[in-house]
Symmetry: C2
């Protein structure tokens, strides 16, 4: 069956109307739709419309507040902590990133830790907001525990992504946006749909043994930190995931490690929370707080061209610069539309029928 195809604008409008239906203000509905749809545009389908009914279910069980009072609860010249008041992460994160950018304007850099939030969409959307200001943007978030640290059979960390977005001049920006695991959960979901096995090194069984079953997590298994095993540096992937967790949640006062609340509404919340909601961390560095922005961007052009034109292994066209595949996907989908997975399209249709919005 062919995947039904929709224009970006059509899907954006659908998401927007759904967010209005759950009580979001027009501003918040626009912002949330921009963030959510940026995932579908950039080819990170697991973080876009596929999650819309998940957000709505969280709202239904009162784990998401559609009229939050998002505010700064602590700050210094270059830092702030934001309390998201249990709002949509899709709305809280851009608010926090704007504060980081404002602080970078006056102070050189800005760093904002967020508590009392939930899933914020793709990290890349938030980090890339810095680019238009000739700033470097950083975004990270913790997430519900699916990952076992090296030697552990317990799931203690989320896939905890990091994005670093760096402006260039004539070249497109460098945008590295990646989960700190060997494979993101979205990749498992693709294998599940296709009924295919996962490579060894992505997941482990509930006892910590190797597994190629993409459904292994339902049976107590876990995702593995980047590196796959100790011999290949999984302790480094664990370091990265831990770094994201601590910056996002221990600095802000959110839940960390195994206490991070689940995204899915049918799982109970941990009954001994150590903080509020999930946490994010954002940074903005003004380039000319280091050197003139035009000089920097000229050298970034040189960096990118040199790496892209490196001599490659036989059969490979060129070295992929971080951000290239997502940008190319966005260009194509803005033009040709977004093909939704049939299951996602069905789910959205049902959601729309329930709330009185036509897909």
């Amino acid at each position: 069956m062919e995947n039904p195809n929709f224009s970006y604008q059509h899907l954006w409008q659908f998401a927007h109307d759904i967010f209005l239906k759950i009580g979001c203000s027009p501003d918040h509905a626009r912002q949330a739709s921009d963030v959510l749809l940026s995932a579908d545009l950039r080819g990170i389908d697991s973080h876009g419309l596929a999650r819309l009914s998940g957000y709505v279910r969280l709202w239904e069980v009162k784990r998401v507040n559609s009229t939050p009072n998002i505010r700064i609860v602590h700050e210094s010249p270059s830092t702030a902590v934001v309390d998201g008041d249990q709002g949509l992460g899709l709305v809280i994160a851009p608010y926090a990133m704007e504060i980081a950018i404002a602080k970078a304007r006056t102070c050189g850099t800005g760093w904002v830790a967020v508590k009392n939030s939930n899933h914020f969409g793709i990290a890349g959307y938030h980090a890339m907001k810095a680019l238009q200001h000739d700033m470097i943007g950083i975004a990270m978030t913790n997430a519900s525990p699916l990952v076992a640290p090296t030697f552990s059979v317990e799931r203690l960390l989320g896939t905890n992504p990091i994005c670093v977005a760096i402006p260039a001049d004539k070249q497109p920006p460098f945008v590295a946006d990646f989960a700190t695991t060997t494979a993101a959960n979205g990749k498992l979901e693709i294998l599940q749909r296709k009924n295919q096995e996962a490579p060894v090194g992505w997941i482990q069984t509930k006892d910590g043994g190797p597994s190629t079953n993409p459904h292994e997590l339902k049976d107590g298994g876990a995702l593995i930190p980047l590196g796959s095993d100790r011999e290949h540096g999984s302790h480094k992937g664990f370091c990265l995931g831990a770094w994201v967790d601590i910056f996002s949640a221990v600095l802000s006062g959110a839940n960390y490690g195994p206490w991070v609340p689940p995204f899915v509404s049918f799982l109970a919340l941990p009954n001994d929370p150590v903080g509020d909601g999930i946490g994010h961390f954002f940074g903005a560095l003004r380039i000319d707080a280091f050197r003139p922005a035009n000089e920097f961007k000229h050298h970034m052009d040189n960096w990118i061209s040199r790496f892209r034109s490196a001599k490659t292994i036989a059969g490979q066209l060129h070295v992929i610069i971080p951000g290239d595949p997502e940008r190319e996907c966005e260009e194509q989908r803005r033009k040709d539309g977004i093909a939704l997975d049939p299951k996602v399209a069905d789910d959205l249709k049902q959601l729309g029928e329930k709330l009185g919005v036509k897909l």
Copy 2:
């Protein structure tokens, strides 16, 4: 043959006297010895005394200036760029980290990019300086190109380590200090000495094929970014190494990518430099610019205890908290002394004889 054993103090004094002999000021000689020996103490033997005669050779060929005028060349309230004047990285890096700490004191965070430097020892020494101030410390550096990005046969990046040091209260600090490759070059050196093969996934041949030969780099091969191959996320390791390279060198005005000058004095400098020397990047975040330090450190204790006591895979004692192995090594070596590899001891003896310092 047993490795000769020396007290920390004895080896520190030797390094100190060597640094005086090449013209360092007493302050610089003390600082350089502290940094260099911290590697031997913490078990990162490849970055300690094993490199001392390498630094001296760089001084001999006038690639290291033993009386540098290290200075800030650009700054904002939360940032600075430092020109190391071709001094020892071992001296420049602590100077830069102090600036980051001073800026964090007034501004919440401090971020310092460094150019015109060279090898700075272990990243951990510098990041950990922040801990005593109830700050988080970050240190990273680029390095001469030994690493092929995913799909490349050319070596374009260094092993580009990152350290993040985070204070706790009753627990020892969290100190993640790691090369952004599957294995650090020092691990290859150990295999070379033992005449053992490397695991598949650490290195590639000059054509990009798999290799287990720890001498492969001498034949045009390369180290591989963390992740080992595309299927296991080596593009994420490439993102990390690139991030370190750009923050350390494109922000500061140092050489980046394949232009980074070699550590060894017998290799020629690239004849088309894009900046000055090698680059570093340092950060300090004052905890109470986010939340009260005692609250934060209490939660770090909880984080660390929870992870350390996780249920483990059969045969593993516990989850290793980043920094534990190095701290335990330091405690033991301060007590029992440091056993030098015989080749390193011989090399130091010859160096001492040449410069009139007894090992």
